[in-house]
């Protein structure tokens, strides 16, 4: 966390006059979305998940923006049964519901980049014969804090983030991420992400497309991610976001509105 504070101090060295000519958030951006993803592991496990989410980003002062977001999701964890099980078609499975809320503050120059912090709280509830080891119950509460930075260079965005998540009250999860995003078109973003620390060997390739023929009000999401450890897992996610009111190109939305 000390590094996060050092980063923020560096930001404070910035002369706010230099940013006075650029708005951190040009106008309030409100969006809602839906995602669905499947995860398969080499050990025969299958997860099927879906989530609905919503968020709002709004200006605070000229160079300072804020965001609020929330999500609710449902996951079915299933295992491929032994072929000799009676009956053979039964898949042992568990379901989990989860929800989370996040709030963030950031400083942004749309021509330069963005630095921010956020804080979130989440909850998972299991609905089967299962236990969260940290709590010894079928429920897990989480609190996470993230520091992030983005650099805009032409049609490329370089982003880093550091997250610490408190699991229950006694365990922490730390992760780093590095993401390189590229806009081959003003309405298309391709992003490659890599994670470290407790999420080591996790990689993600994502695509977001905001069709102009839909009046830039909807974006379509496709993501593939993989984690290679003792067992390999692969996930495919599809989804969409709907944007209320402001209909701007995707690159503009990412750098000026959300």
């Amino acid at each position: 966390m000390k590094r996060y504070l050092i980063a923020m101090l560096l930001l404070l060295l910035c002369d706010d006059n230099a940013l006075a000519d650029s708005q951190a958030v040009q106008a309030t951006n409100v969006q809602a979305g839906f995602t669905s993803w499947d995860t398969h592991s080499s050990s025969g496990m299958v997860n099927n998940s879906y989530a609905i989410n919503g968020g709002i980003t709004f200006p605070v002062v000229s160079y300072l923006g804020a965001s609020l977001s929330g999500a609710f999701g449902h996951t079915k964890l299933a295992s491929n049964p032994s072929p000799n099980v009676t009956p053979t078609s039964a898949w042992p499975s568990c379901t989990i519901s989860n929800s989370n809320l996040d709030a963030g503050l950031f400083v942004r120059d749309p021509t330069l980049g963005k630095v921010g912090v956020s804080y979130g709280a989440g909850r998972q509830q299991s609905h089967c014969s299962a236990t969260y080891l940290i709590t010894g119950t079928d429920t897990l509460s989480t609190k996470d804090s993230t520091a992030s930075a983005e650099y805009y260079f032409s049609k490329v965005t370089l982003a880093v983030a550091r997250t610490r998540t408190h699991l229950g009250s006694s365990s922490d999860l730390d992760s780093n991420s590095l993401t390189v995003g590229w806009y081959p078109d003003s309405d298309v973003r391709v992003a490659l992400s890599d994670y470290g620390l407790d999420l080591k060997n996790t990689h993600k390739l994502g695509l977001e497309y905001q069709p102009e023929f839909l009046d830039n009000s909807l974006s379509l999401l496709l993501t593939y991610s993989t984690q290679r450890l003792t067992t390999d897992t692969h996930s495919i996610m599809v989804g969409f976001n709907y944007f209320f009111e402001k209909h701007v190109p995707l690159i503009a939305r990412d750098r000026q509105y959300r």
């Binding site: 230099a18 989370n100 989440g122 880093v160 999860l173 780093n176 450890l229």
Partner: protein, 575 residues
Amino acid sequence: MRFVISVYRVILFLSIAVLSACGSGSGGSQASTTASTNSIVFSTPSPDAPTPPAQTFTATVSKGTVYVAIPHNGTAIASASYTLTGTTAQIVVNPASPSSLGAGIFTGTVTITGYTCADPACSGLTPGNSQIVNITYQIPPIVRFVAPYVATANTAGTVNIRGQGFQKFSVTGVTFGATAATAFTVVSDTEIQASYPVLAPGSYPVQIQAPSSPGTIISQANLVAVNAPGYAATTISYPSGSPQVSEFLYDAERKVLLVADTAGGKVLRYSFSGSTWSSTPIITGLSDIALSTDGQHLLALSQTNLYQLTPALASDITTPPPTFATAGTYFKNLAMGNDGNAVVTTGYAGSTSTALYVYTACNAINIIDTTCIPAFSQPATTPALDNSTAVGSSDGSLIAIMQGDSTLTSPPGFYQYVAASDTFSAIGIGLNQNSIAPALGVYTPPSTTSSTTATPSTTRIVLSGKDASNNTVTNVYDASYTLLGTLPSTTLAVAVKQDVTATHAYAFTFDSADSKVHSFDVTTSQAGAAFQEAVPGGTALLGNPGAGVRMVISPDGGTLFLAGSTQIVVLPSPL
């Protein structure tokens, strides 16, 4: 301006560099799960045995695990529970009850999986490796009954073997003691028809050979071969009083006659060995008796209870009735099937439909579950009938159920119970029952591997009652309930037999007109017309049995017994 922008770029790069610096995280871990075993086997002697005890194993997950799921599937498992201490789970697996599964080999799995967080905020989970513990549950087949359980010595014959698991495991042979069956057919998972050769007098344990059975096959069935009694014509006086005979049985194994005397409230027992009489204490409301499928119990039915007595009439088990839906309902009548179940009918003071029940008796030789508790049940097909009367065939495969009341103006329907499927069904025959009990002679063809056997069935079912025209009729039907012909309307009691070759069927009637026994060859259909007597003029008895006559025939078909209010009359079979 360019200088200012450059300064900010440098600051932003420094911010990114600080955030990108490696930290002190654990360096990437994934849930790793191990289990103390990868298989568990349950076994039990038979589907009738108690449920085996639960088994326990442990599973351990790695320190990076956030979430542990332990689901199970498969019919072998009734439930699986666990307790978690740190990263170790102790898992208890409870098997399903053998009676719910039947015979067979059943499987299941318990899967232990540890999960880690899938994203930085831990809003999702990523599975680690799974440990699957395979569950196997082995339940061998069982032989429960052989029916009829009494055979005539030195005469080949055919029996139904009842049990469970006959199709789950390939049956390669049937034996009666050390003697192999001459032929057998696996009819269903619960029934085998087997033919035996001539057997000397004695008791023969009935067993099946199924090499793929996972354990020793328990058999509770014994075939008892007895010499044909060859009784001479005689009369037997009651020890006292004038019984009102509601049921009359011949116990061929023990050479005993059993009379249900509803007037005296006693079961009377006459033994040919020593020519002695004995009786039960008073059973208030006594209404019927029947020998259990294995002959090791005498079931005595009163209006309020069902008693399982020993063959010597000592009390063994008493079962109170279920709660009757209609107030004023009472137990009326019972008949035994070849599966250890009895059909129990109920009555009512008046004409109304009341429930029927199936009573599951306990085997006398219950070597599996010594805590057996008899029970009443109602299969889905159980009808509600009007003061119904049930009579079973000698082999227990079929029970005929008549109903009706003298106040009815139109005849109610006839029902049957098929023991092989444990089902009741309505047969499209309308007869209002009278005092003459049905008589059934079920023909079981010899087992053969040929599917082209043309041996005709000589199963004959005799039903008496008032038809739609209010005429008293005594009709003879075949196995499909096709009307073959009629017997005299003056008939008071009926008995049916097949000859030793099973190619002919005969019916014997006790006639009110001349108090004689009349004999009829009912092999060939008369297209609904009257059968002609095979012994013209009938056969006289040494004495008149009296009122309320019931007639039975010995298993070898050689002797008729008639019991009425005056005495018991014994008559060698005229045919």
